[in-house]
């Protein structure tokens, strides 16, 4: 991976950092990389004039033209396959998969082709591509447009997986993903596109495999990913008022995973809850909880708990859908129990 011009792992110095939305941060990252490297291009459905249904790419086609911001047919498997081949032939494709729910259609191309070609060729070939897709429920989009399926790709050797939770992380992780020589899948929370946060004017990238402590604390560790980071931070506020100091830590990449950071935090606080919006069963909370339970075994005062999405297809009805995702209240209650305050 070509060394980034500037590396930062934490939040930016408050000093003079502008506030922009996560959507703008993504667009900036793509624009900067498209300018920097002619081999970078974007392909996907309605990515050009339309700028995607989420308007995340709006304007890019005006600067880079339809050859580099390519509208494709509704052929997710096809464009993923094209991405693998183009990457093997020296390009750096960013394949746009509108909804993370659609990766079911492209799993063969990413898990059997992109992920394995470097290894199968004995290190000769490589597929430096990025799959940009989304996750997250509560958008009233029902069972096939609301899933968080990052566990699938996190399971596959050869793939790297990034889950930004702030505009700052989104920009830095996406730039790193594009420069990485291995295939990377990056999931963006649809509901977070309008979230604002400080992002410096200067260029930077964020190395993979480095967790970020979003909030320091001493009594309990809340490991949270993507959309759940804001939930964990809100819970930490509530816990504060109860005199419970929660540390919120965001792995930022499920692979490579910063196991040490999770274990170290849990050793310090002696309690941990892992929160993720993917289905709980066989989801990423299991991996992180198992790692902490093992690595911090002799330091834990309570069992490591997990909170994922309810194990049901995401229902359409708002009254039902809202019950399926972790909330600050649920996290707070569980944390209280673990801290013997319930």
């Amino acid at each position: 991976m070509s060394t980034p011009s500037a590396v930062s792992t934490g939040a930016p110095a408050a000093s003079g950092a502008r506030e922009i939305t996560l959507s703008q941060a993504i667009r900036e990252a793509l624009a900067e990389e498209l300018r920097r490297d002619p081999s970078v291009f974007i392909i996907g459905e309605d990515v050009a004039e339309a700028g995607t249904p989420f308007k995340v790419l709006s304007g890019l086609v005006d600067e880079f033209g339809p050859e580099r911001i390519m509208d494709s047919p509704i052929s997710e498997a096809g464009i993923s396959g094209l991405g693998v081949g183009a990457a093997m032939a020296g390009m750096r494709p960013v394949v746009d998969i509108m909804f993370g729910d659609f990766i079911g259609i492209i799993m063969d191309q990413i898990a059997n082709q992109a992920a394995k070609i470097h290894y199968m060729s004995g290190g000769k070939l490589k597929a430096p591509m990025v799959i940009r897709t989304t996750l997250g429920a509560t958008r009233r989009s029902a069972a096939q447009h609301s899933q968080s399926l990052h566990a699938w790709v996190s399971h596959i050797p050869g793939l790297k997986v990034a889950l930004p939770s702030t505009p700052y992380d989104a920009k830095g992780l996406l730039k790193t993903a594009i420069r990485d020589d291995s295939p990377v899948v990056i999931f963006e929370d649809k509901m977070m596109y309008t979230l604002k946060g400080p992002v410096p004017e200067e260029e930077y990238t964020i190395p993979f495999g480095v967790a970020d402590i979003k909030r320091a604390g001493t009594d309990i560790t809340l490991v949270a990913t993507s959309s759940m980071v804001q939930v964990a931070l809100a819970a930490a506020d509530q816990l504060q008022t109860l005199g419970i100091s929660a540390e919120v830590i965001d792995p930022r990449t499920t692979f490579p995973l910063d196991k040490e950071a999770l274990i170290t935090s849990a050793k310090k606080t002696s309690r941990a809850i892992v929160i993720d919006e993917g289905y709980e069963r066989y989801g990423v909370t299991a991996e992180m909880a198992a790692i902490i339970a093992d690595g911090a075994f002799y330091y834990l005062d309570a069992p490591v708990k997990r909170m994922g999405a309810m194990d049901v297809p995401v229902p359409f009805s708002p009254v039902l859908e809202d019950l399926t995702v972790p909330t600050p209240e649920k996290v707070t209650d569980l944390a209280k129990t673990l801290c013997g305050r319930a």
Binding site: S75, S141, Q144, V312, P313, F316, S317
Partner: protein, 336 residues
């Protein structure tokens, strides 16, 4: 090729032909769909509906003409733009509104919503939020009919955009190979989201089905007579065990890709939209023909309109007042 130039009388002979009453029922259904969608748009605009919806306005003659050629026990699979298919196959307006509002009285107890309405009682195996995702389901249902020795047919509705999904070609091959009673109805409304189909499709659309030995009919999707007759032919062929057909229907959606797609200037022109509404509206065309044929008087058609409006208004009212499902339902129906 389009059927519209053949004189109606001739067509009726050739196809057995619907009765005046049946044509009027089709007219009523088209109106119901139009009114229904207008209401859905209004519910969205007034923030009374959760999420989004993809309106079928302008395409009514496809769903209605095709479903008029089906029996109640025949199957259909539908799409994200599925309200029209659902109503045309016989679903009730009030329970559909209830589903769109996430209410327990909805066809899926509020769990499916606009993109997943299904109604077993009328053979609707469900709308689908995966483009092309139901191609296998429709073909499989047709395979089941054949295995069960029933003469049920299955209709797979999908848009021009679904031609991008490889699954469609896999199942068309098997449908032709095994002579399955399935009818692929491609609703070419010119756009897939915000992109014109010519920008995403190479070659000839119909040839893609013909290549698998499937007969293709290119149909004027705005002419209820054309869609009905093409469907009737395909259904007869399917019931006779002669295999699948492919109907390529030219049509147009009046509204945006979904209710939130208001600024459309960057991908299609006002003029184009106005032309279709003015010259190619399936309901206007049907009215003109029904009057010309003496099947109905303007007054009779207007009465139908008033009845439909009342029904739709009642349906919305019912849905708005209906209760939400109990929270306890959230983890029910995960497993059968």
């Amino acid at each position: 090729m389009s059927q519209t130039d053949t004189p109606p009388a001739a067509r009726q002979r050739e196809s057995g032909g619907p009765s005046a009453e049946q044509w009027l029922k089709m007219y009523r259904q088209m109106l119901s769909i139009r009114q229904f969608e207008e209401q859905v748009n209004d519910l969205y605009m007034t923030a009374r509906m959760p999420g989004l919806a993809h309106l079928y306005s302008g395409e009514e003659a496809v769903a209605v003409g095709v479903c008029a050629a089906l029996r109640r026990d025949d199957y259909i699979t539908s799409t994200h733009r599925g309200h029209g298919h659902c109503l045309a196959k016989g679903a009730a307006i009030d329970r559909m509104f209830a589903e769109l509002l996430g209410k327990e009285a909805g066809y899926c107890r509020g769990k499916g919503g606009s993109m997943h309405i299904a109604d077993q009682d009328t053979g609707n195996l469900g709308a689908n939020a995966i483009v092309g995702g139901s191609a296998g389901i429709a073909t499989g249902a047709a395979m089941a009919s054949k295995k069960q020795g029933i003469d049920r047919v299955a209709v797979c509705f999908f848009g021009d955009g679904a031609l991008g999904q490889g699954l469609l070609y896999e199942v068309m091959n098997m449908a032709s190979l095994w002579k399955l009673p399935v009818i692929y109805v491609c609703e070419n409304n010119l756009y897939g989201e915000y992109t014109h189909y010519t920008e995403t499709n190479a070659g000839d659309l119909g040839a893609r089905a013909a290549a698998f030995g499937i007969p293709v009919a290119h149909v004027d999707g705005q002419d209820i007579r054309a869609t009905y007759e093409a469907a009737a032919k395909a259904v007869a062929r399917a019931r006779a065990g002669e295999g699948p057909s492919f109907l390529l229907c030219d049509t147009y959606r009046y509204y945006g890709h979904h209710v939130g797609d208001i600024q459309r200037g960057y991908y299609r022109s006002r003029e184009e939209e106005e032309m279709w509404r003015r010259d190619r509206d399936p309901i206007k065309l049907a009215a003109t023909w029904l009057e010309a044929e003496g099947v109905a008087t303007p007054a009779a058609l207007d009465e139908i309109r008033q009845q439909v409006e009342a029904e739709v208004a009642a349906g919305v009212k019912f849905a708005l007042e209906a209760p939400y499902p109990e929270p306890s339902e959230v983890d029910e129906n995960v497993y059968a």
